[in-house]
């Protein structure tokens, strides 16, 4: 069950089945949008070992880029999305390059401080971003003859982008590049000693992650018609990390599960009890104590028990054996 094609089939299944389980087209679209962003976060956290608290920056910049482009220019939709990816990627390269000068928790603190810097930039320059009110009135342009004005037609559009992004990230994760990132995550000192310029590879990982996250942010702004300040704040970075970790790090489909779980549960609970974050907090503590591999880890051990643990290391992905352990 570690073959990439199997995971892609699962992702396609999720995109296909969501409309049957979720009545709100907006919520269903949000699941896929955040799944893209969480997978981008996972590339850094699960594959490179970089816990970036700055993912909200790339997400928010994606939102603003798309909003500004659609409001102030006549660019068609697809080039706008590409533009959001470029902006996300370029900023990610700069922030990545600055942050990886420190390691471990210092790195985490730096990325969080950068997240605050960009939040206050967006808040302060409200002429451009709309500040607290967000950038409002973003038109949802169609693509050629395809109008995207109903929530389910937009869902279809996002689903296609989601699957393309997922496949691309899978390809990257299993490439020589992805394997090198994994090596850096497991043992950066050794990776450097066998000749890899570790910093350059970390920055490259940031570039990919920034592009993917920027794309997700753009799709989010297009979904709700505004680029809200909350797309770039501390809580966005935090939520993206939480989704990634809940789903299970080091596994791209885990991020899809994490995003779906987080959004559906928060949607359900917040309707019942406004203080549901208390439960989320408790869940995170339980996760750290008992479910360190996340939902995907739970599924894997569940399958392992059912199969009676017949599959040895040979059943694992080629080259990668053993499962994640903290």
């Amino acid at each position: 069950m570690d073959r990439p094609i199997f995971h892609f089939a699962l992702a396609a299944l999720v995109a296909l089945l969501l409309p049957f389980f979720i009545r709100s087209g907006t919520l269903a679209t949000e699941v896929l949008v955040f799944a893209i962003a969480a997978a981008g976060c996972n590339l850094l956290l699960g594959y490179t070992g970089l816990l970036s608290f700055g993912q909200g920056i790339f997400f928010g910049l994606g939102s603003y880029t798309l909003g500004l482009a659609l409001i102030h220019t006549t660019l068609p939709l697809l080039p706008t999305l590409v533009l959001a990816m470029i902006v996300g990627s370029v900023v990610a390269i700069v922030i990545g390059a600055l942050s990886i000068r420190r390691q471990g928790v210092y790195f985490v603190m730096l990325t969080l401080a950068f997240a605050q810097l960009f939040y206050f930039l967006a808040y302060t320059f409200s002429d451009i971003t709309g500040g607290d009110n967000g950038l409002i009135g973003i038109p949802r342009r169609g693509i050629g003859p395809l109008a995207l004005n109903s929530s389910w037609s937009y869902y279809g559009f996002v689903a296609v982008i989601f699957l393309i992004s997922f496949a691309a990230l899978q390809r990257i994760a299993t490439s020589t590049f992805g394997r090198t990132l994994l090596a850096i995550r497991y043992n950066g000192e050794r990776a450097q000693a066998i000749g890899f310029p570790v910093r350059a590879f970390k920055i490259a990982a940031f570039a990919v992650s920034g592009a993917v996250t920027g794309l997700a942010g753009a799709l989010h702004a297009l979904l709700i018609g505004i680029a809200p300040l909350s797309d770039i704040d501390y809580h966005m970075s935090e939520s993206l990390l939480v989704m990634t970790i809940i789903g299970g790090t080091g596994n791209l489909f885990g991020s899809v599960l994490g995003a779906a779980f987080y959004l559906i549960v928060s949607d359900t609970l917040s309707a019942i009890w406004p203080r549901w974050l208390l439960l989320l907090g408790a869940l995170l503590i339980v996760l750290a104590l008992f479910i360190q591999k996340g939902i995907w880890g739970l599924i894997e051990s569940g399958v392992g028990i059912v199969r009676g643990r017949r599959g040895g290391p040979d059943a694992m992905a080629p080259g990668v054996s053993g499962s994640e352990r903290p």
């Binding site: 956290l45 816990l51 600055l98 000068r101 420190r102 471990g104 928790v105 210092y106 985490v108 603190m109 730096l110 969080l112 401080a113 950068f114 605050q116 810097l117 206050f120 930039l121 808040y123 302060t124 501390y234 935090e238 939480v242 970790i245 790090t249 203080r275 974050l277 208390l278 989320l280 907090g281 408790a282 869940l283 995170l284 503590i285 996760l287 750290a288 104590l289 360190q292 903290p326």
Partner: protein
């Protein structure tokens, strides 16, 4: 004159940032544990001070009690929860303490409501005094004086006492502490409680200045990180200098460019990181 006024404000603010950051720094130094619930302890300290004042406890009592209650809660959390996850990767430290911070924040909202509130300064300190040509609120002067005394005591605790020596030895190697015959578990708990208590005290002191609201914790956490990034982790002097720097920059900017006051401290951080990646006084 306005600059002098803002400079004074900045020093007061900076000393509060120092208290926050030094708590974070001490916990990290000994436990190699980054505490994302640090802002939540600050939040809790502020609200406890607010509540105790409402129950008619005097200001001094509220201040001391708030800090002690926060420290006690932190000690319980450390023994019951955090001790179990020290050996894990720091990702799990962050997940668990984010969870803890969320829980504290939501409990605060459940108990005291989602809307913020102002907190009166103690009666004896509500006045203002003339400093040369300008009037300055007594409470803010008190905060500067009080935190300066506290900073001196902390300096003495960390540099001059056995506990300080053990903490410093522990940040080099925990085996060393065990060799010296100390129970590392109890030291860990004590240090965690001390750090959290300092955050709580900072919150309690800040309450009459800025009021209380449920989201002040996140803000404080980010500022504490900035101070630690600028000052260098594990450095008392670094935390003091960086705390003051951040406080003063923020206050002066309130006059020069009010909208960009918060932005300015993050820009200051980026500048320091560009020039000195380890911070002003960071160790290798």
């Amino acid at each position: 004159m306005i600059y002098l006024f803002q400079l004074m404000n900045g020093i007061g603010l900076g000393m509060l940032y120092f208290l926050l950051a030094v708590g974070l720094s001490v916990i990290f130094g000994l436990l190699h544990f980054v505490n994302f619930a640090h802002g939540a302890f600050y939040l809790l300290g502020a609200y406890l001070c607010y509540a105790l004042l409402q129950y008619g406890v005097g200001f001094w009592g509220a201040l001391v009690l708030a800090a002690i209650i926060v420290a006690a809660i932190a000690a319980v959390v450390e023994t019951g929860l955090l001790k179990r996850i020290y050996r894990l990767d720091h990702m799990y430290h962050i997940v668990a303490t984010i969870g803890l911070a969320l829980m504290i924040q939501e409990i605060v909202i459940i108990v005291w409501g989602p809307v913020g509130s102002s907190v009166p300064a103690p009666k004896a300190l509500t006045g203002a005094i003339m400093l040369g040509h300008f009037i300055y609120p007594e409470y803010r002067l008190f905060v500067i004086g009080f935190t300066a005394v506290l900073a001196a005591i902390l300096w003495w605790v960390l540099e001059g006492t056995r506990l300080g020596a053990v903490v410093r030895a522990g940040s080099e190697s925990t085996d060393m502490v065990s060799l010296l015959g100390y129970d590392i578990n109890r030291i860990n708990t004590a240090v965690f409680a001390l750090g959290a208590g300092l955050a709580g005290l900072a919150g309690a002191l800040a309450a009459p200045i800025r009021g209380v609201d449920p989201f002040m914790g996140v803000e404080a956490l980010a500022v504490a990180f900035v101070v630690v990034v600028i000052g260098g982790m594990g450095s008392y002097t670094g935390a003091l200098i960086a705390g003051l720097l951040v406080g003063i920059v923020q206050s002066l900017m309130t006059t020069l460019w009010p909208a960009g006051a918060s932005l300015a401290i993050y820009i200051a951080m980026v500048l320091v990181v560009l020039v000195m990646p380890r911070g002003l006084l960071g160790r290798a």
